[in-house]
């Protein structure tokens, strides 16, 4: 079976480039504001959108994503709003993944979540705290609705662990570039390239690298060895800064477009002068 993600990676490969995945949380600064920002980043060259489901205890996230998720939750964002966001952004044609901690899905009901996510036009999920050992019921529900299930590996993952994750993952394997939480880093871990090689030895699935990538130069560097480049905190920071400085929605969207365009140039091997 070929999913929308498979097609998207294949198309990027045809162009001889890596694919760009952009993350923003639903509901920040508002549900509609989040939708507008996600659409803007797709227009500017992001290939796949990761819609974050804001969660009260985001143990894998650094302060930038925590702040945005907290604000979204204070604003009253619900799982329903996340699905509405998926539906609105899927209209752009880009594959949409929901990045979520497990408890909100558990509470919603995994089968119901899979059905509603598919109905909203979503392409799949990324579930950082769902261990492969516990993923059976979710994988069955996701497969029934044609959703891809992306899982993470880290530099500390053993080869056995990588094989186990690769054996159940679909769409791509998310390789965390370093040991730590989300957030921009001056350098993307040197461990990332080695981890990508180890994943490739275990699977034919594409490998996308996330954690720490914030600039076009870093995107270009990672694109040199990975099939996909995932950027989150750097994009979220643009929205947070605009919010804090009271710049208004148009300026925030321009900021998102500018960064997304830089990153899109990066994954095409070019580093624009502005980077």
């Amino acid at each position: 079976m070929h999913s929308r993600l498979d097609a998207c990676f294949a198309a990027a490969r045809e162009e001889g480039r890596s694919l760009l995945v952009g993350y923003l949380p639903a509901g920040f600064p508002t549900v509609d504001g989040g939708i507008a920002a996600m659409r803007a980043m797709v227009e500017a060259g992001v290939d796949v959108v990761e819609v974050g489901l804001p969660y009260s205890d985001p143990t894998m996230d650094g302060p930038v994503i925590q702040d945005a998720a907290d604000a979204a939750l204070r604003g009253g964002v619900t799982t329903r709003d996340v699905l509405r966001t998926v539906e609105a952004v899927a209209a752009t044609g880009a594959p949409i993944l929901v990045m979520t901690y497990w408890n909100p899905v558990d509470r919603y009901g995994p089968a119901r979540f899979a059905a509603d996510l598919a109905a909203a036009g979503g392409a799949g999920t990324i579930t950082p705290d769902l261990p492969p050992e516990e993923a059976g019921p979710w994988l069955a529900a996701a497969a029934e609705h044609g959703l891809d299930s992306v899982f993470l590996v880290a530099p500390s993952s053993s080869d056995e662990r990588i094989e186990r994750v690769a054996g159940i993952a679909s769409g791509f394997v998310y390789a965390a570039s370093l040991m730590g939480v989300t957030g921009a880093r001056a350098q993307v871990g040197a461990q990332a390239a080695g981890l990508v090689d180890r994943v490739r030895a275990a699977t034919a699935l594409p490998v996308a690298v996330g954690l720490g990538v914030s600039t076009a130069a870093q995107a270009a560097e990672v694109a040199g060895f990975a099939d996909g480049v995932i950027v989150g905190s750097a994009l979220v920071r643009v929205l947070l800064d605009a919010e804090r400085r009271g710049l208004g929605e148009q300026a925030a969207l321009e900021g998102i477009r500018a960064l997304a365009a830089d990153l899109a140039a990066g994954v095409r091997g070019g580093v624009p002068a502005s980077a």
Partner: protein, 381 residues
Amino acid sequence: MAALDELTDSYDQARADEAFTAELDDLLSTYAGRPTPLTDARRLTERIGGARILLKREDLAHTGSHKINNVLGQCLLTRRMGKTRVIAETGAGQHGVATATACALLGLECVVYMGEEDTRRQALNVARMRMLGARVVPVTSGSRTLKDAINEALRDWVATVEETHYCIGSVMGPHPFPMMVRDFQRVIGVEARAQMLERTGRLPDAVVACVGGGSNAMGIFHPFIPDTGVALIGCEAGGDGVATGRHAAAIAGGSAGVLHGMRTYLLQDDDGQTQVSHSISAGLDYPGIGPEHSLLHETGRATYRVVDDTAAMEALALVARTEGILVAIESAHAFAGAFEVARELGPDATVLVNCSGRGDKDVDTAARWFGLLDADAPTRA
């Protein structure tokens, strides 16, 4: 996951190694003050007018609570794994103080994450940890209490796992923590069971303990689980009352979910967002509960009651005046529950209460509650 696999392997090897268990036993007796005594609470028994009440005196263990039992085990394990740095979360500060103590003893670097709200209400313990050489990091994210301190410790751990052990303070978190912490706390129940047989000639009719994450309860319950005639009763923190929504009773007022790497009962809303817990006791102010307690609840082997702030504080005052023991507010929840149980069972029965910690750290909170400070108006009459 790699870190948890490594920990599981190391712990499995350590507990099968006689040298490791001998060193831990030696520290427990020559350093931590074990075995802790069993006290016949005669005046309290008379005052309540029900079953004979006996107290397992974990408040007399070094650092003032049962927390030292677990921490000595985990810090020895840290050294065995070749790690040099220990991180911990703390609510009331008892686990943080115990961790700082064990790290000082074993020459390990120590960082304690504590919700900013808790650093205020347990300021004495913050100073104690710093005296012992630990770095205390006030956590300002989320609700600024225990659950957020755990989040921050987990974030530290993923970035530092090569040289750092995360010394979790209760029977919670991902495997192997609930099992390992229970094993290190079992010594409470093993001692108490033998002491009860020696003192009273039989097993108690009920064992009562307070439950936040639930390590003191799991420690005293576990050796009694095969003794089906012994009722095991956990006391959750009811805060302002379960009906108000301002409480920390995961079993009485929560539902099944996943938090901090465990499937258990927890306080959550319809979308699976963790709800903020409330209790006058910082040590019980946690929206989840150790998964083995959820199991004991579902199998019916243990039962769980709710004790609200007012009942706990009344128990604290009564125990102080009848027995001359100023207990921790956490432990006062167990006493309040035990008073009910003692009245229900009547004078022929015996009730064993886990007096899990001493109350020095809570004097400020208690003084404000009862209006004992000359400068303050009472918060409650």
